[in-house]
Symmetry: D2
């Protein structure tokens, strides 16, 4: 992946998106009275699973059936402004890049429209033992929607 | 288990004990600027594993070899006084009761000798699928030491 | 509190209740492929805050305004049956006992009607510095509803 | 920060380093039976605080005294190979870049010499209210050691 991967930019095409409403729990905060930075990786994970469900892909059932998974191989987060206990956040996510090799989700966390945090995660498709497999076409289609193009 | 189980009292006999030194991490705290109450169950778990290691029982190797485990089936915690970021706590643990049916660990968390938190956890021995098995004699001996008496 | 406090029994009167729908996140699980026992304290906390919101008490706003809080001073959990990734749980909660001294929430976690986990938490009302205050009447009324009786 | 920031390379000069021995707790794992990716941000945080302590800077006392902090404003993690329950990891950390504007820690997580995970975190110095302040000279000196050069 090129270094440009760092440059987050919401896609202008009509690829699938999903916005998860996330209430900040007390346990998510730390002694600075803001959401602990590691918590956002939890929020991203929840949003990713719900993105898949919304777009017709039941991740848990697929893991169970195919003995495959989408582990996080890389991530990056930029924390712009803190969130606090009980705030209702919006975690928007979409797949910015998808191929037979990996999927790259991007995330925008907002409160009342203000961007608080952004980030990406990169996931290959692997067996439960960790061996890399090709990303299934059905998964690519669910993630990319109209932005999907036949890899052949 | 009788309701008296609630009454924690350090054993007066010479059964095995272990004191784990636990530094409070920033992520362990919450917006009240104290250690979040759920964190103590993490501390107890770490102390329990180290108790076993110290007394000659390698829990991870046993799980791997025997496909058994010691899940927590019940716990209780009393929070007397809060702990804060970067404090060095002492988590003392011992097995207050052990039989072929279950083990009951008790815990005292102290800072500079002051009791902050106490609690217990109850663990049966189960297969990874959750079926109950008898607690192995070798495990009972490791946990009870001189307090062990032949169950026959 | 008497030892009978251990005996959980859903109230038969019409006191306020709340059932929080809780989806199990991947991060909530552990290597036994079930929800880690400490996670239930997180679920209880979320359900407790939502119970209050549903019954007209905005906890976060109250903390901010009054500089008071409801820390957990004691809890107990009984784990009957495990929950797994992506399951949709129901966390029912109610205040089994409330006075000017403390509130005691009880919890039933169910999946498709089956009771998986039950527990209680006890919370006094304290200042942010930890000094005990009397539980406000407005809070007692929100928690107890028709079961509230004037303490005088 | 330039995009080259992504290119982790252990410094060849004699700047301060610290290696934290981190035992994997059971709660650190997930249903894939490996350490959950969010856990590494916890490990990094602990290593960072211990790095500072080892090099003469008591972070908790400084926060308390100066009402300042070093929040994480950005991080990146690359997960190369998984870690499992009870493994003893080595988390090596050093400050790859430090100025009056921010500190950039880098991390290598190894097991028996094998690199499992690497990453960086970027921290400005801020007030507890979130206002940016200049990184104190004493902190820069502790972090950079012989690599420190007078900014004037």
């Amino acid at each position: 992946m090129s270094l440009h991967a760092h440059k987050l930019h919401p896609p202008t095409d009509r690829r699938p998106r999903y916005t998860h409403r996330q209430r900040v729990a007390y346990v998510d905060t730390d002694a600075a009275q803001v959401v602990h930075h590691s918590t956002y990786l939890r929020y991203f994970e929840v949003a990713r699973i719900e993105f898949l469900r919304t777009h017709g892909f039941d991740y848990a059932a697929w893991v169970e059936r195919e003995k495959l998974g989408l582990p996080v191989a890389e991530n990056w987060v930029k924390y712009r402004s803190p969130a606090r206990f009980d705030e209702l956040l919006e975690v928007e996510t979409w797949v910015a890049y998808g191929s037979r090799a990996f999927l790259r989700w991007e995330y925008h966390v907002r409160r009342d429209g203000k961007l608080l945090t952004e980030g990406f995660t990169v996931s290959p498709c692997t067996t439960l033992g960790g061996e890399v497999r090709r990303v299934p076409i059905e998964l690519l289609k669910a993630c990319l929607g109209e932005a999907y193009t036949d890899p052949s």
